[in-house]
Subunit: 138 residues, 2 copies
């Protein structure tokens, strides 16, 4: 079901500073940058050389957002992991049937035109887990 | 320099329970299981379908180990991210030159015969980061 690790989501206080770090230190390239009001973040996707796994940098739009609270409580750092799946609707049905709670019972829009859904960390050993069905032409 | 995300390292209290979760919920397969006394963990590598990115489950050998302290302080959850590189010695030299502190100034033995090195999270926005040069025949 899980094709590969699609990305790690990293919470940061300043998107600009984090982008500078990842481009300078690791030579990564920003391939997308957007504001996601629904998730309360400004974000950037940086591609590894494979072109199929990414570092996703997340700056909270305000302290009251999910990522804002995360940064307040735990500081900057890894926020979630995203796995690529062929069909996120099918994957949600299969995973839901095992008893894992779904944060999103239906897919919603994610970065770069993907369909995504989050699974509850309380049922996955504290790991906020995202399923990512990349855009068909990507 | 970073070829792809090689793995996410996930700290857990019980390796058996975590393996059961990841195999049942996601259909992942255990491809290696070992005890690493140096790092103070029992660990399992579970492959995604790509065969090139993994979930690494880490159970501390005792509360005083690095992962043991992590679990005490923050609970179970994501512990580090590992990126595949072609040459870990070269990558360490390049990264060290940018001012990022190296936990390992020279590569050491990692899971499945890889050469690995850790970078300091304090210089990488709170993210404990590992470089992984997979075994040549893998």
């Amino acid at each position: 079901m899980l094709l590969r690790i699609d990305h790690v989501g990293i919470a940061c206080r300043s998107l600009e500073a984090a982008i500078e770090r990842y481009t300078n230190v690791f030579g990564l390239t920003v391939v997308a940058e957007e504001t996601n009001e629904e998730q309360g973040v400004r974000e950037a996707m940086l591609a590894t050389e494979s072109g199929t796994s990414y570092v996703q940098l997340l700056e909270p739009l305000s302290p009251g957002t999910t990522v804002g609270k995360f940064v307040e409580r735990r500081g900057e750092g890894m926020h979630h992991v995203g796995y690529a799946v062929a069909d996120v609707t099918e994957a949600l049905a299969e995973i839901g049937a095992t008893g894992v709670r779904l944060i999103d019972s239906r897919p919603r829009h994610g970065s770069m035109g993907a369909s995504i859904a989050f699974l509850h960390p309380a049922d996955l050993g504290g790991v906020l887990t995202e399923l990512v069905q990349p855009r068909a032409d990507s």
